[in-house]
Symmetry: C2
Subunit: 249 residues, 2 copies
């Protein structure tokens, strides 16, 4: 009995890193906290909006739905397709658009290329709890994962199902901070933390090596967005999904 | 005309790294050389067998098929499931089983968990050319890719669709050597070469960090296999798929 107790008290919850939405089916979400990671830029924008006082962020999968829902609740419809403000919308997926003056006490209805889709997939696969994370709210994410005591899936949104480094490095940042509290038998997690530790001293300096950087900066000039998205704890808020909305907790 | 010529002469073929069979659909294989990578152990075993004089290796997707084909051509049926010699077979997926005495001038009919399946997927997706690669035949793979002048997909077999580091680091080894000859806009490739460069000084020393190492060494004691699979150019042969067989070229 004592041995069993010791074993139980020593056993830690598991942690896995899922490198693409196309790999999500490999993981058991039913008893896990799933962290939706879309560093450029959905989950950075969500942190920014909630930190600046948005009542909630409603993620939706299409522009018409964003417009319709925003209209019915007097919210702000926003979103991007392929990195640009989506056609038919006035507001995009830039975390810097959502200042306290603009978003305070309002509801943001957001549709994006990758992050929104991954969140829907996690819902469909019965995730126990869903939160969203990016560098601007790293510490809050880590604290929540430690407090929950549950297994963790770090879900990288990637780019149209392809692996990307910025989401992977955020997973690595979480593991760098709190990995010791989990059982990790997962090459993805090992790689993620190695890549993060290699670059953590200057993430913004590393950014020009990222495929997505060129998509955003060369084509749209969003260097300020990139800097915000890669800076730790500039929007320290926990973003939890509940009843169709992401809310600050 | 002169400008066009310059542009054409400067344009390099593309190179991508596909981290899992479950991501293969994201890449255009029709005009590419696809390198099947299954370091532990299928593509190491294939290199070993061909280097030691096997006439060919026939990859098949089931044990009964392996037995049937081997019988009809007086070949050697072999294969593994979950790391062990598959039930019903006398020979497994260890590169050290296939000495010149045993395999010389014979045909190996091989079925494995991951590598065989990825090869079939590449065929189904109309890959222009398929070769197999692992550390024991790294230089031959690189030379072939340079000579072909075609675009390249480095296809990691992974473990049951999960990412693994040993296949990824072999992709990184190829990029480390010949990446400059290709156009690479692919975070997977960037990560692969970074991970390889971090560990290349002592791949065997790094092996205990790999999930798959524990599957093989702790459960089956295959440390010699691991060492063979991670040692560069110990079976210097090019393995090309043609008419249902992998043959030395």
């Amino acid at each position: 009995m004592e041995n069993l107790f010791n074993e139980m008290s020593q056993s830690k919850p598991s942690l896995h890193t899922c490198l693409s939405p196309a790999l999500l089916h490999l993981y058991d979400l039913a008893n896990s906290v799933v962290v939706i990671i879309d560093v450029f830029r959905a989950t950075s924008t969500i942190a920014s909006a909630l930190h600046n006082g948005a009542r909630s962020v409603i993620p939706v999968d299409s522009v018409p739905k964003a417009i319709e829902i925003a209209k019915s609740i007097d919210g702000i419809a926003a979103g991007e397709r392929d990195g640009m403000i989506a056609e038919g919308l006035q507001h995009g997926n830039s975390p810097l658009e959502y200042s306290r003056d603009f978003i305070g006490n309002r509801i943001l209805v957001l549709t994006t290329t990758n992050g929104t889709r991954l969140l829907q997939m996690a819902l469909d696969r019965n995730a126990d709890t869903i939160i969203s994370g990016s560098f601007p709210n790293l510490s809050k994410v880590c604290q929540f994962l430690l407090d929950s005591g549950k297994s963790v899936i770090l879900g990288c949104a990637g780019w149209k199902d392809r692996f990307n480094l910025e989401d992977t490095m955020f997973a690595g940042a979480v593991i760098d901070r709190i990995g010791d509290h989990f059982t990790i038998h997962c090459d993805s997690s090992r790689m993620a933390v190695d890549m993060y530790r290699q670059q953590k001293a200057d993430l913004i300096g590393f950014a020009p090596q990222l495929t997505h950087y060129h998509r955003l900066v060369n084509r749209f000039g969003l260097i300020k967005d990139i800097e915000f998205c890669l800076t730790i704890d500039t929007a320290p808020v926990l973003s939890v999904y509940r009843d169709g909305k992401l809310v600050a907790k």
